[in-house]
Symmetry: C2
Subunit: 257 residues, 2 copies
């Protein structure tokens, strides 16, 4: 059975499973880092939705954790999910050598932490009160942390489990991560809240600089398509086995949620 | 140079360094898990101080992170510190085998997460709105997570780095962790805020069950002393080398901060 994304959810787990499959890693092994990256992503969503952060009421069509329960529960839920992510990559059932598991843990910490995802989120918050809107370079740096770092880690899980060359999937992940964020900005402008399962139009209403506000909607769509083409080319060395990751890249810019 | 605690701070790092010294692990190695456990502890303090949690204004004699900056910064600071802790135990400079580093990461995640420290914190919050005060057993379970899990991890870092028997230091840590929490409850009743560098008297004012409210002040002091004696006995197998950890145990119940 092939692991599949459902309506754009669990893209990160899919990346782990498929990049592992490219390197002939068994699903019984890759399911651990796949669950780890979803736990890490889920923690970031729970904390990002907090009143002191993005203050969102809905997520994946459900009330956010602090709305359903309370803020303390949301803080602790996120904290526990982050720890769970590290537990799952370090677990002996990953059936990889200690060096591989330690390296997965180290790189996951770097991707998630103060030079990765947390930095991206902090830059995003700082942008809200900045005197002038961010430039394209600054937004690209912001997204590389906020979205790109975990996507990159997920795409590299396969070669890391196999102790194989990472360069093709690194190029794929870089282009995919940026395309992903551009599409998020497009959905914020064009999407509807019910399909997205979360609030939309918030960035535009807040006057935040986004890829769409800086490039214009049509140019943003073209840029996303060009990045997806780059991503697909980058993994052509894997031949037919790369098709599902290439389809994922096409899906990333087709999705409306 | 011997690593030393200052005024009761960095007890966890001291435990790592000293348990490592008992197993002839070089400071250049043990400094990594020592810093990791302090980063983990610091994250827990920053989040615990949040308005939605304990709502504290002062910590270590300074304004808490959300008071000095804002809540979003405090959430992100804690998140980044937790990731940093995992980065430091998995780091190749720990100069331990991959298996050891992965095991340190796995056990740190278990100690910090939803079955460890986060569970203890959640039980503590639940206790505030419970219909009846906690029993002694329930408070002991609560503290085993909230304080005990990280103390245990710190005390076991040495034998884990050396791949040696953990049982003596496990017994030491169990008794020490409980003594530590009892003394915290004693300080909350008898301490003064300036010396403690944080608010005191909060538990008593909130009518929360503590070791002191359940046992009485004098019996709590006797129980703490008896646990410290147990802790010291547990590591007597290490001979004179154990003296600094035995002094630490005595210090834990002598401290006023």
């Amino acid at each position: 059975m092939r692991y599949a994304t459902r309506g754009g959810k669990r893209v990160r787990a899919f990346l782990v499973m498929e990049s592992a499959r490219l390197h002939d890693i068994a699903q019984a092994q890759s399911i651990w880092p796949a669950c780890a990256i979803e736990a890490m992503h889920a923690y970031s969503l729970v904390h990002d939705d907090l009143p002191c952060m993005d203050d969102d009421d809905m997520r994946r069509g459900q009330p956010t954790v602090h709305r359903k329960w309370d803020e303390a529960t949301a803080v602790l839920t996120g904290d526990a999910l982050q720890a769970l992510a590290f537990e799952m990559v370090a677990h002996p059932d990953v059936s990889a050598s200690g060096d591989v598991r330690a390296h997965l843990g180290l790189t996951l910490a770097q991707a998630a932490g103060g030079q990765g995802m947390v930095l991206g989120q902090a830059l995003d918050i700082a942008a809200e009160t900045a005197d002038s809107p961010l430039t394209l370079d600054e937004i690209t740096t912001l997204q590389a942390g906020k979205t790109g770092a975990l996507i990159r880690w997920a795409a590299l899980a396969g070669p890391r489990l196999a102790e194989a060359d990472e360069s093709a999937l690194a190029s794929y992940a870089e282009a995919l991560g940026l395309a992903f964020q551009i599409q998020d900005d497009i959905i914020d402008v064009t999407g509807d809240a019910q399909a997205a399962g979360k609030a939309v139009g918030k960035d535009a209403a807040a006057g935040k600089a986004t890829f769409v506000s800086l490039l214009g909607l049509e140019a943003a769509k073209r840029r996303a398509q060009s990045l997806v083409d780059q991503a697909c080319d980058a993994i052509s060395c894997y031949g037919d086995k790369a098709q599902s990751l290439q389809r994922l890249a096409q899906f990333v810019i087709a999705r409306q949620t």
